[in-house]
Each structure stands twice: as structure tokens, then as C-alpha cells.
């Protein structure tokens, strides 16, 4: 953090190659008071001639390709840094193989290669083939990346921070664990799916966990149904959130319903 920056002044030109605007707005956002990229010496300039670096967004549509090429060629011969912002520019994003997206013939349009191809790298490789110098490239994925993430990328470029991510390759050696839930896995999955419709995928796991905790406690007692009801009342009184209380009640009903159905031996299959 205290490292002396390699570059103290980075003038950037913003090159949108068909992005949805999200990344572009975030680029503007890093200039605003909360992020203030000017601290790092970043300045958004109006002409590629002034730029040290090109901030590229977008999946590189064919219509943009020619202009983007011109823009990079219009930069001073060095350093020509390319800052690739957003998933689209990194790899084509969700649009990666639509018909208007530019891909080098050798990149193909579909396939299982990884890292996934697409985005601005296609243009950079074309330029390098033509003998144009293109400087270092830094990728900042995200859809869109948070302003902090862009700042982080730029700080990395300036040598202020180190990169944190490493490619990972896990094999079976890491071991496998099949988490054991306190309740029957099938019931859990059913409840989980039900919760998705009530509070959504994000909050469901936490609520379900709490619920299972209570169920586990309740199952240990003699009258699980009454016990569970009591526990849930206590829990709701503590958490004081209308929605979570609602879910708990719902889960309680569902739990008993599914469990009864299961134990009655009825065919019960859930699907994702």
C-alpha cells in the first residue's frame, strides 16, 4: 500500500466497443467524489492522442471494431496500456457469440477453450499481427465491476497493490464432504425450493439453517410439534423481522406437511 507508484499520471481514453453502458457509467463514477480516481493521477481525456491508457468496455461488436482499431492506432506509440473493464470486454460476456460480435477466425465462435475467448483481446491480437505495438493489458472483470474494483485494477497497474486472485485448479485431492443436514435431505431440498419463492435464493439458506437448528432442538424433545412452535415464537420475538417470522411459520407448516407425506410413503420427488 505504501509502495511507490510506477506511474504517477495515467491519462485514459474511454473506448466503448458496444457495452451496455453499465461499465461506462462506472468509469465515470470513479471520477466522482467517493472514489476520485484523480488521486491516482487518472484523468479522462477526450482524444486517444493524449492517452496513456485505453479503458475498454464492451464485447467488441463488428461495427465498433474498425473505429476501435483506429482509436488504438491513434494513441502515442507507447505506452498504449489497455485496461479491459467489464466481463464483456474481458471475454465477450453474455453476448460472446452473437452474430454481430467480432471474433478472429482462429478464435472460433463456440467451443470449450478456457480462459474463454472474446472481447477486446481479439482486436489486440489483430493489431499485434499487424505489427502495431500494444502495451500491457489488465483485465478487470465484473458486470459491471464496482468502482472500487476498477480503482483496484488501476492501482494494480500503478504498482500500488498486488493482485489477489490466482487461477485455481482443484482435483479430487481436496477431498469431498457431503454435508449432513439435521433433517432429511429430501425435506431440506423441498423446503429450500419453497423458500426460494418466498424470500428468494439469497436469504433462504440463512433462514433455513436457523430453522433446522430449531427443528433439531425440537426433534430432541418429546412433543416436537409444540416444541417447534414454541421455539419459533421465541426466535421470532428475538429477530423482530416480519418477513423472517413469516418464513419461519411457513417453514413450520411445510416441514410437518412434507415429513408426514414422506413418512406416509407417498412418492415425493422434487425437482430443481
Amino acid at each position: 500500500m505504501s509502495a511507490k507508484p510506477k506511474l504517477r499520471s495515467v491519462w485514459v481514453f474511454h473506448l466503448n466497443t458496444g457495452a451496455c453502458n453499465g461499465c461506462d457509467i462506472e468509469i465515470l463514477d470513479i471520477l466522482t467524489p467517493f472514489y476520485d480516481a484523480e488521486r491516482l493521477g487518472v484523468k479522462l481525456v477526450g482524444s486517444p492522442r493524449h492517452a496513456h491508457a485505453m479503458l475498454v468496455t464492451g464485447p467488441l461488436t463488428r461495427q465498433c471494431y474498425h473505429g476501435a482499431k483506429k482509436a488504438i492506432k491513434a494513441m502515442p506509440p507507447k505506452p498504449r496500456i489497455i485496461v479491459v473493464i467489464g466481463t464483456c470486454a474481458c471475454s465477450g460476456g453474455i453476448f460472446y457469440n452473437g452474430y454481430p460480435i467480432y471474433r478472429r477466425p482462429e478464435s472460433g465462435r463456440e467451443g470449450c477453450e478456457y480462459p474463454r475467448r472474446g472481447g477486446i483481446i481479439e482486436l489486440i491480437e489483430d493489431l499485434r499481427d499487424e505489427g502495431e505495438y500494444v502495451g500491457p493489458v489488465i483485465y478487470i472483470p465484473g458486470c459491471p465491476p464496482r468502482p472500487e474494483e476498477i480503482l483496484y485494477g488501476i492501482a494494480q497497474l500503478l504498482g500500488l497493490v498486488e493482485k489477489k486472485l490466482e487461477g485455481e485448479h482443484y482435483t479430487e485431492e481436496v477431498g469431498f464432504e457431503l454435508p449432513e443436514a439435521p433433517i432429511n435431505e429430501r425435506i431440506r431440498l423441498t423446503l429450500r425450493e419453497k423458500l426460494r419463492h418466498v424470500v428468494g435464493y439469497f436469504d433462504r439458506d440463512k433462514i433455513l439453517e436457523d430453522f433446522m437448528e430449531l427443528v433439531k432442538k425440537a426433534e430432541e424433545s418429546e412433543k416436537p410439534k409444540e416444541e417447534l412452535k414454541k421455539l419459533i415464537d421465541e426466535y421470532n420475538a428475538k429477530i423482530r423481522d416480519v418477513r423472517i417470522s413469516f418464513c419461519m411459520r411457513l417453514l413450520e407448516n411445510e416441514y410437518w406437511r412434507v415429513r408426514d407425506a414422506l413418512s406416509a410413503g407417498k412418492e415425493f420427488v422434487y425437482w430443481v
Binding site: 467517493f34 464492451g58 465498433c64 453474455i94 453476448f95 452473437g98 458486470c143 424470500v199
Partner: protein, 558 residues
């Protein structure tokens, strides 16, 4: 619909079919020779003052019926009736032509060029039949939205430039695609005399990413929500909402009320940050960076709020067909209230600052005037239309989500200049805050995501929302096997952009960025994309002749 009777009386048998698609959507099938007459009949109907050409959809229905079809969708605004009318005509597969509406109504210009580009349906008598959507190096006679075109093919053609010769004695002043005042690529070719703009040519669709095709082939219903959101990075949520509404209408899915309210709140939050963004950008373009910084500083609070509510600052990703993916727990509601409180006090200050900066007002006043008549002819939308005296708002005229239960004003100004548009946006910001407060108070309980079994194939519907820039219209024709048969997204800017040359004419190149920005353009919205299906895995690049042959053969087969 009493007007249908009138219509029947007028055109008689040539009206082939009238059916109701959803509670407010009617589809009228007519003979292709009277298509333009019927469209203009509605557009110029004296009792429907603000009737608007909402969208136009061309569909390759050859696998179904052996025909192409075009449908003009009109929205009837400013009237107590909440009606959308689709006027459809089938065109023969071997000779898909129809009479162009553009000579009678300018607003149809782009729609017709688009179907010509993407489907090879030719609008006869179109005044400007240049290529609109496809890349300049796209081969002719290859129509990507036809069903025999594979979505990931990308045939190479010869690069050419479609620009008009500049008028005698003028200089070309190109703005874009890479101009600092444009966040997105778009090419305004201004023909100038010194500083004064004489004429303007526009080449957009740099951000054409083929979303519609991708959606029709690679993606499933739920996945399309996410690509619809990425139509635009600012108003993406209105797009995904409009898409979901279209599918929900087509599939007759009942959306839980709580989901509707959550959508409403998010839509208004989006409007808040979008309008604050616009105010900032307008300041930035006139060199008033302090205004830019303060507007965006306020906006940042909304962005943070959205991040905490949905998990992302702008691509909220919480819409699914049938509802939303995240709930508003109580602490989230409190966060919204806090942010609103902050906004209310600081936004007032910001507006005061802006209006007391004389140089800024001077730059906005009397610039880029779009008179009411032109606004109507171009069918412009949203704050642009309201700044020119058009009194409409999808939220009020065709209530969706929870807007029917909420109370709000629709600001309208008659001046039609940049300042009027700014004032409309400022007032809308206040209204949005008010709407969110109401919605929070009334937030009902229950589920947030509907459960549905299957969406029946080949049903049509449209979904509309009022984006910060105007009306978004998404048309969906459902298809078999969890995919969409035809998806058509129309963003507000699609209607607004063609009017820009009229607004630019006579002003100076110093005003140009501001005028262009004053419609709050969103090129990526306008230019969408089309995609959807994964596995084939092999690279297919065909020579042009080969491809042309192929498509000809294919059309013969169908």
C-alpha cells in the same frame, strides 16, 4: 373498444381478425395492403391525441404458417382507455413486402428499416432505405433474424460506409463513435458551417449485440431476464421488468403482489439514479464539473442502496419470470428510508445550486428545441416528449407493477428545450421519491416468486414500462421447449434518437453534445442484441455467395 366498430365499418372485410391478447392488448390482423392505412388511422385518430407508435415487430413465422408477419403496436395514451393495439399483417414468404408507413408517420422510419435489415421484409416506398442495424461489413441478403440463420454465424461482407455526401460547402464534424461526450459509441455526422449545424446524419447500432437472436436461440425464459437487463446498464431493470411482464402476460402467470411492489420500488430507485446521472452529465458537458460531482455524489447513495438491496449496483438481477429473486427484509426497508431522507434534503440543495448558476442555465435555455408537432411526428417518448408538451406516462396511462395503487404527478413542460427536459427530470425525481415512500408504506406480504408449470407456446404479448428515458416495449412470442420464439425489445431511445437531427439543426457544435445528451440517449438499449443456444461447438464461417445461396434455398424450402 368502441373504436373497433368504427374500424370495422371503415375497412370492412379486409380486417381479418380481432382478438384480445391480454386485458389491455388487442391484436387486429389486417390485409397487408391496408396495413399502413389502419396504422395511420389510429395514429391520427382525433380522439386519441397522444397515440404513439410503440413498437413494430417483424416475425419469421415460416416454420409456423409459411409466412412472415409484421405487427405495429400502438399505445393509446392520454386517454382514459388503457389500450395497446397491435396491427398485424401476414406477408407471403417468397415476396415479403408491405407498404411503408414512414411517408405518413416519420416515427416508423427506424422500425421499417430494422425489419428490412434483420428479416429481409421490405417496406415499399420507404424514403431512406439504408442499412440501419447490421454492421457495415455485413453481407447483403443475409437476414439474421430469420429462423434459418444460426445465431452464432457471422458472415463477412464488404466494408462500406453508408453516409450521404455532405451538403455543398459544409464541413463534416463527426461526433463519435469515440467522443468524450458520448459514453457509448454512436456516430453523429454533423454537417457544419463553422460552428453551425446544417444537417446531421446518424449511424448508430454500434452496440448492436444481437440480443434478440441470442434470446430466441441460446437462452431460456429465465436466462433472458439477465440478458434483457444487460440491454442497458442504466435502465436495465425496466427492460427485464418489461420482458417479464410480456412473458407473464403471454403465459398468464399471476405475479405475487409483493413482487410487484418490489419491482416498483426498484424501478423508481433506478429512475432516481438515472435522473441524477443525467443531471450530472449535463453539467459535465457544459464544463460545470462541480454540478457533475455533486449530482453523482448523491447518486452514489442510491447506488449503494441498490447494491445492498439486490446485490449489484445496477444490474440488479432480481427479476425472474413470475416475480423477483430477493425479498425486502425489514432492515432493507429501513435503509431505503434513510437514503430517501438524505436525498430529499440534498437534492433540493443541488437543484438550487444548478438553477443559481447562470452560466449553466444560459447553456440550456432555448437550446435544442423540439416543438410539440415534431415531437408527435417522431413519436418521441419520456421526458423528451413531456418536455415538449406531450402529456403521457406509461405508469399513469397503462399502470403496470404496482403503479395503479400509487399516486403521483406527471410533469409536463411546453418549451421543448434542454432546460424543459432538465426540469421534467428534476420534478420526476421528486415524484420518484414520493412513489417509493408510498410503496414502502403499502408493501404487502406473501410470496415473491410465482410458481408456474409451463408457458404455452406461440402466444404473443407485450410488456411495457416507463423507463427513465421513456416507454420500453418488449414483445414476446412464446415458443416450444422453454425458449422464446420471437423476442423484440424496444427502448425509449429508439423512438427518441431519430428526432435528434431535427433538434440539432441550426444550433452549434458547442450545443451538440448537450442536445444529444438531453434526450438521455442510451444507445445500447436502442441497439440491443439477439442470442440463445450453446452446444453446437463448431465454427461456421461461410462465404457470402454460399450463404446467400443457403438462405435462398432455405426460404424456398420453408
Amino acid at each position: 373498444m368502441k373504436y373497433l366498430e368504427e374500424l370495422k365499418a371503415k375497412f370492412g372485410e379486409r380486417i381479418e381478425e380481432i382478438k384480445q391478447l391480454a386485458h389491455n392488448q388487442w391484436l387486429i390482423t389486417v390485409d397487408k395492403d391496408i396495413l399502413h392505412e389502419v396504422v395511420v388511422y389510429f395514429l391520427k385518430h382525433p380522439e386519441w391525441k397522444e397515440t404513439q407508435l410503440s413498437t413494430m415487430v417483424g416475425t419469421d413465422e415460416r416454420p409456423l404458417r409459411g409466412k412472415f408477419s409484421v405487427t405495429y403496436w400502438l399505445s393509446v395514451n392520454g386517454n382514459s382507455d388503457d389500450v395497446y393495439i397491435g396491427i398485424k399483417a401476414y406477408l407471403p414468404a417468397d415476396d415479403p413486402r408491405f407498404k411503408s408507413v414512414t411517408p405518413l408517420h416519420k416515427g416508423a422510419n427506424w422500425y421499417e428499416r430494422e425489419v428490412q435489415d434483420l428479416l429481409g421484409i421490405i417496406p415499399e416506398g420507404h424514403p431512406d432505405p439504408r442499412k440501419l442495424v447490421l454492421p457495415d461489413d455485413w453481407p447483403s441478403c443475409v437476414y439474421p433474424l430469420r429462423k434459418d440463420f444460426h445465431y452464432s454465424d457471422s458472415p463477412q461482407g464488404e466494408k462500406y460506409y453508408p453516409y450521404r455526401e455532405p451538403p455543398q460547402g459544409t464541413t463534416v464534424h463527426p461526433i463519435g463513435p469515440y467522443h468524450v461526450a458520448l459514453d457509448e459509441p454512436a456516430h453523429f455526422r454533423l454537417y457544419v458551417k463553422g460552428e453551425e449545424i446544417i444537417d446531421c446524419d446518424y449511424r448508430g447500432f454500434y452496440s448492436h449485440r444481437g440480443i434478440e437472436k441470442i434470446s430466441e436461440s441460446r437462452l431460456t425464459y429465465d436466462q433472458i431476464c439477465f440478458i434483457a437487463e444487460r440491454i442497458c446498464g442504466i435502465c436495465g431493470f425496466t427492460h427485464s421488468t418489461a420482458y417479464c411482464q410480456a412473458v407473464e402476460a403471454a403465459g398468464e402467470i399471476e405475479v405475487p403482489e409483493r413482487a410487484l411492489y418490489i419491482r416498483t420500488i426498484m424501478l423508481e430507485l433506478e429512475r432516481l439514479h438515472s435522473h441524477l446521472l443525467w443531471i450530472g452529465v449535463a453539467c459535465h458537458l457544459t464544463g460545470f464539473d462541480t454540478g457533475f460531482m455533486h449530482a453523482w455524489r448523491l447518486r452514489e447513495h442510491v447506488m449503494w442502496l441498490c447494491e445492498r438491496l439486490t446485490g449489484n449496483r445496477k444490474t440488479y438481477g432480481i427479476n425472474l419470470v413470475g416475480g423477483v429473486r430477493r425479498d425486502f427484509l425489514d432492515y432493507r426497508k429501513e435503509m431505503i428510508e434513510d437514503v430517501l431522507k438524505k436525498l430529499k434534503s440534498e437534492f433540493g440543495k443541488l437543484v438550487d445550486d444548478l438553477t443559481s448558476t447562470k452560466t449553466f442555465i444560459k447553456r440550456c435555455e432555448g437550446v435544442g428545441v423540439l416543438p410539440y408537432k415534431l415531437a408527435h411526428e417522431w413519436s418521441v417518448d419520456g421526458p423528451l416528449g413531456r418536455g415538449s408538451g406531450r402529456d403521457f406516462d406509461v405508469r399513469r396511462d397503462h399502470p403496470y407493477a404496482a403503479y395503479g395503487d400509487l399516486d403521483f404527478k406527471v410533469p409536463v413542460y411546453k418549451e421543448g428545450d434542454v432546460l424543459a427536459r432538465a426540469l421534467v427530470r428534476i420534478e420526476e425525481t421528486w415524484e420518484s421519491i414520493w412513489i417509493i415512500e408510498q410503496a414502502l408504506d403499502q408493501l404487502p406480504g406473501g410470496d415473491i416468486l410465482a410458481e408456474y408449470k409451463e408457458i404455452p407456446p406461440y402466444r404473443e404479448a407485450i410488456g411495457t414500462t416507463e423507463a427513465p428515458r421513456g416507454e420500453n416495449v418488449h414483445y414476446v412470442m412464446t415458443g416450444p421447449g422453454n425458449t422464446v420464439y420471437r423476442y423484440r425489445a424496444r427502448a425509449a431511445t429508439y423512438n427518441n434518437l431519430p428526432a435528434v437531427p431535427d433538434m440539432l439543426r441550426g444550433y452549434t457544435i458547442a450545443d451538440a453534445p448537450l442536445i444529444i445528451a438531453s434526450i438521455d440517449p442510451c444507445y445500447s438499449c436502442t441497439e440491443r442484441v439477439q442470442i440463445v443456444d450453446i452446444e453446437s461447438g463448431k465454427v461456421r464461417i461461410l462465404k457470402e455467395e454460399e450463404f446467400n445461396k443457403l438462405s435462398i434455398k432455405a426460404s424456398r424450402r420453408v
